[in-house]
Symmetry: C2
Subunit: 281 residues, 2 copies
């Protein structure tokens, strides 16, 4: 999609030859000064899909090595294999001072459009049940004492039962009382300027919700992502996505967060899983 959308301007890359791409981390996509992980992922994946010559990221893994700050970046790509179904690409995103911010490995291919697909279909569960969007609680750019500039770029409208963390409250008991998992965040997400979702911007959607562990009795704060994998399962239909993020296991310093993204037509468009570190109190 074109330059009329801020997501496309903020993730634009130019081909420098030899598998290298130039881009920038734009202002305003951060949480407390650190660029959002999903946004960083989208910059890198835009360069990698150019190197792949195939339009859809099918499965993308990123290791987060250093925080991303506004300024020029480069993406170095390497074509691992160009196969019949997939192009497998490794990549890395570097800050201008040489610091490596992300290391990535991804397969690009052809993802089905939204709607019925040829071949088998099976779904054990559907999109999260949500109240109408106007009854949800919008995540604010200033929530729980943290400046979340990213929330000016996209609208995250949370199921009210999950949104207590914005007032410093924990929702685990309310979620259990509602028959749900105690560490869950559900809601809608749309880009603020109305840009439709595509398989590239799903990278951003997969990492833009408040951590589901904010509903547990753990220290609030930055939960660094160690590794994030996004599996894209379909091209999204226009309209807000419905998202469900949840954590089942916290052990020592580590937890996982699993995500599901569903398009407005009710189809699963991505699954995500990250390994993250518990915030320091």
């Amino acid at each position: 999609m074109g330059e009329q959308w801020e997501f496309d301007r903020a993730t634009a890359v130019s081909d420098l030859g030899g598998g290298r791409y130039g881009g920038k981390i734009a202002d305003g996509w951060d949480i407390n000064g650190n660029a959002n992980g999903g946004y960083l992922l989208a910059i890198a994946v835009r360069a990698m899909r150019a190197a792949a010559g195939r339009v859809d990221p099918c499965t993308v893994t990123a290791h987060f090595l250093a925080p991303g700050r506004p300024g020029p970046v480069s993406v170095v790509t390497d074509v691992v294999k160009s196969g019949r179904m997939f192009s497998t690409i490794s990549g890395s995103l570097h800050a201008d001072d040489g610091r490596r911010v992300l290391q990535l490995l991804a397969a690009f291919g052809d993802t089905p459009d939204s709607g019925p697909v040829e071949g088998p279909a099976f779904s054990d569960g559907g999109p999260p049940e949500l109240p109408p969007i106007e009854e949800c609680v919008r995540r604010t750019p200033d929530s729980a004492g943290v400046a979340v500039a990213l929330m000016d770029r996209l609208h995250v409208d949370l199921d009210p039962v999950c949104a207590g963390f914005q007032r410093g409250e924990r929702a685990a008991e309310a979620l259990i009382a509602a028959g749900r998992h105690p560490a869950e965040m559900t809601g809608y997400v749309a880009l603020a300027d109305g840009r439709p979702w595509d398989t590239l911007s799903l990278m951003l959607a997969a990492d833009c919700f408040p951590p589901a562990v904010f509903n547990l009795d753990l220290p609030f704060g930055w939960v660094p992502t160690v590794e994030l994998t996004v599996q894209v399962r379909g091209r999204p239909a226009p309209g807000p996505l419905r998202a469900r993020f949840g954590t089942r296991f916290v052990r020592g310093s580590y937890f996982e967060e699993d995500g599901e993204l569903w398009d407005s037509a009710g189809h699963l468009v991505a699954l995500s899983r990250q390994l993250a570190l518990v915030a320091r109190g």
Copy 2:
């Protein structure tokens, strides 16, 4: 662990210098002639952890590019970052003819021992409920018309309700009747020669069960793994692991399979997720 165990002999690597390691794909770790994916992963991860100089794989992602056949292999490793908590390593496993079999990206660090850990702990669910191991159904080296030599290397003892596929039956309805997910495989797994599990051999355990989609009305056959990510969450206590594998979404040619591995002390030791392709009928 030492050379008295067949897993260690079959995954041994020698340091060739410059980040290169030599090893072999041993006979007898295959399904219908193709080496098991978890076994290939273990060879590569053994070399990568040597390059990392840290003992535990924390999160490992592998893309499967070509089948592995018995014979010499080499593993090429690259230290992406050597940090305070993690060493991030990229790697690739190559057959003797130069074909690239696996491409990998992994973080190595320090994983807690089995048992109570310092810091927060939260678990939304526990190990699968299983009948005693002697009431389970052992997966045979010749099941559903396929030669699964791997089953001489390890013992997979399935919950009887999941094991109908060995007789060509689908368990989805029986699983639903039992209040369970329709595409689930649960059981115990132990190495045949009694070798205790460690964080390296968990790579094998994460990909040694029959596909959970064998319980659905889909074509039987080889379901190629595109990408597999294993998050290690603890060092396993001695004794068989309890495992739960399940698929929730099949769409077009793709499905995911999520796994949980629990040690004999009842602690979660790994989560896995793979993106795989539906078998051709």
